[in-house]
Amino acid sequence: MVLFLIASGLSLIFGVTRVVNFAHGSFYMLAAYLAYTLAGALPLGGASFYVAVALAALAVGAVGTLVEIVLLRRVYRAPELYQLLLTFALVLVVSDVVKLVWGSENKTGPSAPGLTGAVRVAGQLVPTYDLALIALGPCVAAALWWLFYRTRWGVLIRAATLDREMVALLGVDQARLFTGVFALGSLLAGLAGALQLPRVALTTVMDAAIITEAFVVVVVGGMGSVPGALLAAVVIGVIDAFGVLLLPRASLVLTFVVMAAVLVVRPWGLMGRPEAQGRSAGGTIIAGREVAVPRALIVGLAALLLAIPPLLPTFYVWVLVEILAFALFAASLHLLMGTGGMVSFGHAAAFGMGAYGAALLVRWATAPMLLALAAAPLAAAATAVVIGFFCVRLSSIYFAMLTLAFAQIAYAIAHQWYDVTGGDNGLLGIWPARWLASPVRYYYLALAASGAGLAVLAVAGRAPFGLTLRAARDHPRRAEAVGIDVRAHQWLAFVVAGFFGGLAGGIFVFLKGSVFPESLAVAVSVEPLVMVLLGGVQSLAGAPVGAALYKLLDTVVTRYTEYWQLVLGVILVAIVLVFPRGILGTLGARGRG
């Protein structure tokens, strides 16, 4: 039921404001920690816990309101993805604030006074508190139902979920509506987090865990549908429970398989409805004109990259290699989201499949390093053939969600298939061949691979293939009408992007000498998104620029403070508010005067 609370809030916010709020899990975590402190500090005896839960939920509701008014309100008119970037920045900030205030050790909260025992249900001992939570679910659902179906505010919310512009045409101030929705959604997330206090240990990564689960519930239920969230929370809860009993080693995979299955069969979820306008997510992000980068600059940069590494300290050579890997990774995503208008939330699948593909070959077939590296993009491309087949059928946010589901399936497999992937422990000792092991030599290999990849992507973007993709992005109907097979082109783009994403993963795995399931995690999907937006989505060159900036920031900030996420988050917020078109987009606009 906690899942229902958090998912209904997330669904509500998306339904009305169309913001995919990554920070929702952070609000949940924040409330849990607040409740922890308050429950310990309040001098109210047995009532402390309950008062603490209520106060924490309210406080987080207030934080959410403030975030909406101060930050999100400024970017509703900006392309959708910038809102995403902003909420992602909040995730980083809240995560470090929690570490700063409460420390990194796990915390165990008090139990709920009066609900400490356990009851025997069908032969199983179930904590009384869990039963109380289960009972609370329908109560909250009923309260929400009343709010939506019996108040004028509810009518406005439901209307706005269907057609925001029409609501404005009828004289309703969207800004106030959005603030209210955000407040309510954050309150629900806060309540969910605070109520977890007696059940789970508080950790600084609980935000990431819950947000993925909440996404699953929201997507399965139908984005924007609160009844759908309730249904899906129950369905997923049951599947989780049975999964642990029946297939303990595949329990993680199961939920994402369900999500993928739902999206394939009924992309708008169990109780959602198909998008009215049906526009692709890409259509709105391509705000600016392409920015041409002078050829001389590229040549100069290439010369610099060729010449300088032997002069650098080893540490910076490693940083450069990482930048090269991520430049290619981000560029491969750019083909999808920039040129193709398909925003993927699961590009980590390509990166991780490349990394694991190479690592598994080395580990189990003791393949030579170069062969394994060459296999990385092939493994990723093969995966992309399958994933892409399903994904390109969907548009916009559903495409993004299905890619996320597949990436999560890959993550879960890597995590739980212990015998082959080593699970959490990852695969270690995946080093380059001896003659390439020196930093500078490995650097040149990475430069060659990444440079070649970027060159191919640049050519592909300008070739008829890229032009066709653009046409399909901007005028899908017209493109179909003139006989272009839009889907086939998008599928091919997905595979090509997967190929180069995999190559990036291959470069990365030999740089680190190891691979962990984290290389398939949501964070790895979000990073290239951030990089592309940071650099500017209008041109391919934005991807490497963004990658370099992101990784340099990461490196520099980490030297001065362990709270690099906080700094990065603040910088991202500033970028979204000040340079909403990315670095290149802003420079380009300046240049044109």
Binding site: R152, A159, L162, E165, M166, V167, L170, G171
Partner: protein, 229 residues
């Protein structure tokens, strides 16, 4: 009361209106005629601020509407009834009407039902389950609930059966008698002729004719050039 002066409007990179000027007086019914893609809808959308206006001015009762957010324009007394009707499909007829309702608008449920008796019978039905003609009534009724002094109707007769158009023209005439000014985008000259006092003809984002309906009727070559009749 509503006046557009040399308005230019764009959709992203494409420039659609090239200096549109027109005027709607108190209680007047004015039609805006033109072919598909001439810029009729864009003109109406420019007034309420849902398309970007890059030059020119739009004044309503003396104050400029440029840069005024859409919901404010609506509250000032301009109600746009969009061409695709945009009924909230999942909401009941009553809830659809409730979205725009305002206590000070002068329009109440009984008054709306008086004008469209059919809607009273349908009050609890889902908006999405209504027929085209019923949806057309609902979309106008919904906008009336906001208490507009100028109603912008975008192709109200489009897609309606001739009988329904007949009845519907009666409703619009009743509104006119109640003193609501109307700017109506139309391709259906017959329908416009029946209701409008004056007409503008728009083509490729520019006004090509301005005058009374009678003057338009007299000018056959004009009608041939810019209207499909």
């Amino acid at each position: 009361m509503l006046e557009l002066a040399d308005v230019h409007a764009v959709y992203g990179p494409s420039h659609v209106l090239h200096g549109v000027s027109l005027r709607v007086g108190d209680g007047e019914v004015v039609s805006l005629l033109g072919r598909n893609g001439a810029g009729k809808s864009t003109t109406l959308k420019a007034i309420v601020g849902v398309v970007e206006v890059t030059a020119g001015d739009i004044r309503f009762e003396g104050r400029s509407l440029r840069g005024v957010p859409t919901h404010r324009v609506a509250r000032l007394g301009i109600g746009l009834v969009p061409e695709d009707r945009r009924i909230f499909a999942d909401l009941t007829v009553l809830d659809n009407l409730a979205v725009g309702a305002r206590p000070d608008s002068g329009w109440t449920l009984p008054r709306v039902f008086d004008l469209f008796p059919k809607l009273a019978e349908l009050a609890r039905r889902r908006g999405g389950s209504l027929s085209g003609g019923e949806q057309q009534m609902l979309t106008i009724a919904r906008t009336l609930m906001t208490g507009p002094r100028v109603l912008l109707l975008d192709e109200p007769s489009e897609g309606l059966a001739p009988v329904v158009v007949q009845a519907f023209a009666g409703n619009v005439a009743a509104l006119k008698r109640q003193g609501v000014a109307i700017l109506m985008a139309e391709q259906n000259l017959k329908f416009a002729r029946r209701l409008a006092d004056r007409a503008y003809v728009i083509e490729k984002g520019e006004i090509r004719f301005e005058g009374t309906m009678a003057a338009l009727d007299a000018d056959v070559s004009l009608r041939r050039a810019y209207l499909s009749v």
